[in-house]
Point group: C2
């Protein structure tokens, strides 16, 4: 595996499509001989403002989103059990923990574990049961981590990351940034890797 | 080529991403031995209501959309010359002409020609210069066609198609519908074809 990341994987642990990327990124990137730096931000609405809610409850687009994720989970061999809680009001808490974890070295494992609890066990992201189980799976102490994740210092850092994401033109999760190019959506992961390796999208 | 369509290609001639699908659908489908029925609807806002404008002027998402289309056009070998007019207030007129053309047998050629005028010559979709050039390319008389396309009967039929699109759960353009499954976006064309052929998404 390369020592220098080819780009950044920006995400919120409240995003639905990010489940697919969180679960498959490590393997897909490793197979291509590259890796990404994982960069949590506060949440999509924190990034864009509330003018455009990505998935309005009860809308045709939201129904489609669940079905589209389900079909792709099957394609990728990723388990899931729908329906799950959504939206999740404590999503920023999950992203805060993820940011702390990235600094301490257990962040990627936490994000995967938190998504497993949400998408396979129906525990809302950022809620106590989800965090307890996901942190236990990473060998981390719930009280210490949550206390630090909710501290003013960590929240300031999360806001700074969110501002940086906005500054470079991001508006959704997951987003992959490679050499100044933005690739938005789990379905652009292969494009991002192709760009990292060849400076172009792979032929269809 | 099969005589029975495997599914429907629903679209508005005011949609940007539909440029990619309109230009490549025939070849991609033929290579897979399938074909789609082309079904124009009035427009995305007519379909969903104006609560969620797909691309707000000046937004990060809109900037991304143009760049994403550009990268994919290069990938597919489809010419384009940005920037182009957007949004285009007369887009419904273009979709009306498309619907008439589908019934008379020149609709697919018209849609491709209208998109070429818009994306390669900068003539806004639905405007007179675009329609004149695109209809001439299909051997159609501008005055006859526009008069019929703007008639109450044709407008009623276009509204009925738009209602049907809404009824089956569509919310954007392009959308491919195969066996009750919706595939939204040019980037889901291959998924739709895989579903038609195998009842599943192709392995990644």
């Amino acid at each position: 595996m390369a020592e220098i990341p080819v780009g950044d994987f920006w995400f919120s642990v409240g995003s639905t499509y990010t489940y697919l990327s969180a679960m498959r990124l490590r393997d897909v990137a490793a197979a291509a001989g590259v890796f990404f730096r994982w960069r949590p931000f506060a949440g999509v609405l924190a990034l864009t403002g509330a003018t455009q809610v990505p998935f309005i409850e009860g809308s045709a687009k939201t129904r489609y989103m669940w079905r589209d994720i389900e079909r792709h989970a099957v394609k990728y061999g990723i388990p899931l059990r729908l329906p799950i809680p959504y939206p999740c009001p404590q999503l920023q808490r999950a992203s805060s923990v993820a940011l702390l974890g990235m600094r301490e070295g257990w962040g990627e494992d936490f994000v995967r574990a938190a998504y497993v609890r949400w998408f396979q066990h129906g525990e809302e992201t950022g809620g106590d049961p989800n965090l307890r189980a996901a942190l236990a799976a990473c060998g981390q102490d719930f009280n210490r981590v949550v206390s630090q994740a909710e501290s003013a210092v960590l929240q300031r850092d999360l806001a700074a990351e969110t501002n940086e994401a906005r500054r470079i033109g991001l508006f959704g999760s997951p987003s992959f940034v490679v050499g100044g190019e933005i690739f938005w959506g789990d379905d652009r992961l292969e494009d991002a890797i192709s760009w990292a390796r060849h400076g172009t999208l792979a032929a269809g």
